[in-house]
């Protein structure tokens, strides 16, 4: 199995920093801005974006955690039920500008579930999407607003994001055949 490193620690750091700038530029600052990370690695990336935004603007933006398990469209198809973990959004999302954060953007089904989950908490003014890696092969009409890196892949390939906080290893993005 061939494994290719697509991004290293520095590349990930720069991509997150650039996305933070883009989020601020597009939303004209931090007013009504909030981040919501999709478990597991989206949460870590949301935390890093929060820190980058704090470094740039000096403001802590509200940040939440979304577990999309209960909204998956294949829940009745899988034999063993996936572990459900807590959703933690301790602020009112109504009329907020929400940036949904995930690590890998692939079929779009996770994001669809995330959107459904999010609107159960309120009615945001706008929902945007930030992803570290966009690997294509969408099965739903969903696009990302902020992308760390576009990676052309075949459908059979596997893209793996490794982050220090969740994996205990140096940050990197790998592509496996």
């Amino acid at each position: 199995m061939a494994v290719v490193k697509i991004m290293d620690q520095e590349a990930i750091r720069r991509a997150v920093l650039r996305m933070a700038h883009e989020i601020l530029e597009k939303n004209k600052g931090v007013e009504h801005l909030a981040l919501v990370g999709i478990r597991t690695r989206g949460v870590i990336l949301a935390q890093r974006l929060k820190k980058a935004i704090k470094d740039i603007e000096g403001v802590d933006v509200p940040t939440g955690i979304l577990d999309i398990t209960l909204y998956r469209d294949d829940l009745t198809l899988v034999g063993t039920k996936p572990l459900v973990r807590e959703t933690l959004i301790d602020f009112d999302i109504t009329d907020m500008k929400i940036v949904l954060v995930d690590d890998v953007f692939f079929t779009g089904r996770t994001i669809r579930a995330g959107l459904d989950a999010l609107v159960d908490f309120g009615r945001p003014a706008i929902i945007q999407l930030a992803v570290l890696v966009d690997r294509g092969h969408r099965e739903l009409p969903i696009r990302a607003d902020f992308v760390g890196k576009n990676i052309p892949t075949t459908k059979a390939q596997n893209v793996k994001v490794v982050l220090d906080e969740s994996d205990g290893k140096t940050d990197e993005v790998l592509m496996e055949d």
Binding site: Y71, L75, T80, K81, E86
Partner: protein, 307 residues
């Protein structure tokens, strides 16, 4: 850690990991009940039937709400209006309901083991909501969830179970569950209502309520089942209440962090005095709240699991 059971028949047959998985999953579902929109689509299109051959308000409503908050369709069948009152057997009734494409059946019946028989005879998932004097697993799970919430752990906790141990399925399920998770359980009640050889389940027996209150972190007061007292187990209710009823004066003998639990419905003035039932140490309403979360977790896990 993964779930492999199609039914929930009791805690005797579950492992420590299974129980911990249910409690962990229930945490997420508690959050769902705290939202403005208390509904997730996890069991959309599934049908859950509650089939109750004994009276129940709390448990039946709790299961129904749990199923509804997971987007399942629910149907309630009470025994007095069902065709078992026309002579149909339990299994036949259940099979007929199942034939209408039901995915899970939540069953309460006065005969111990009846739920096991149904699980063997049906293709759908069966969840035990209390069978005779055998088990009431979701009640014990919500008790354990509440303990974990209050103390942050179950391992090492000292829990007293007070009252009619002989007839209590709540006591049996709690003993199975709590001992598996490493709690130290003491049962306390009138000698006539204490099953012989209960020590074999890994519990201590004590006939002195004050002593149990002094040593415990939590006590579970059981409902005195008046409907099962025809056989003269007790000289009088007054004597029971004097010896085994918990009032504030007795409670003050225990530690400050001692909490009082009750599976409901409470006979005020018998198992608990009114000031204790409504007092600061009572977590009875927390138990009810947690019941919905625990039952959501159970329905989510058993539905669709193939054996």
């Amino acid at each position: 850690m993964s779930w492999k059971h199609k039914h929930l028949l009791g805690l005797e047959s579950l492992s420590r990991q299974d129980i911990e998985l249910i409690l962990e999953t229930a945490k997420s579902f508690k959050e769902v009940s705290s939202r403005d929109i208390k509904k997730v689509p996890a069991l959309r299109g599934k049908t859950v039937v509650t089939l109750f051959f004994e009276p129940s308000t709390r448990t039946r409503i709790s299961f129904e709400l749990a199923a509804k908050r997971l987007s399942a369709d629910t149907l309630n069948i009470a025994a007095n209006v069902s065709s078992t009152s026309k002579g149909e057997t339990l299994l036949d009734t259940a099979r007929n309901i199942e034939a209408m494409s039901v995915d899970a059946m939540v069953v309460r019946h006065s005969l111990s083991g009846s739920v096991l028989q149904l699980a063997e005879g049906l293709k759908c998932s069966v969840v035990n909501a209390g069978d005779g004097c055998r088990e009431h697993p979701t009640q014990a799970l919500l008790d354990m969830f509440t303990l974990q919430e209050k103390f942050g752990r179950i391992e090492g906790l000292k829990v007293g179970i007070i009252g009619d141990i002989l007839h209590s399925r709540v006591a049996r399920s709690n003993i199975w569950g709590l001992t598996k998770l490493g709690a130290k359980v003491t049962v306390c009640g009138p000698a006539t209502l204490m099953p012989r050889g209960i020590e074999a389940m890994g519990v201590d027996v004590c006939y002195d309520l004050t002593k149990v209150l002094k040593q415990s972190d939590a006590v579970i007061a059981l409902r005195l089942q008046k409907e099962r007292q025809q056989d003269k187990f007790l000289p009088s209710m007054r004597e029971y209440s004097r010896l085994f009823g918990i009032n504030q004066a007795k409670l003050n003998e225990g530690s400050d962090h001692l909490i009082v639990m009750h599976p409901g419905p409470t006979n005020r003035g018998v198992e608990l005095s009114a000031d204790v039932a409504d007092g600061k140490q009572s977590v009875i309403l927390d138990q009810v709240t947690n019941g919905v979360a625990v039952r959501m977790a159970v329905l989510y896990l058993v539905l669709g699991t193939k054996e």
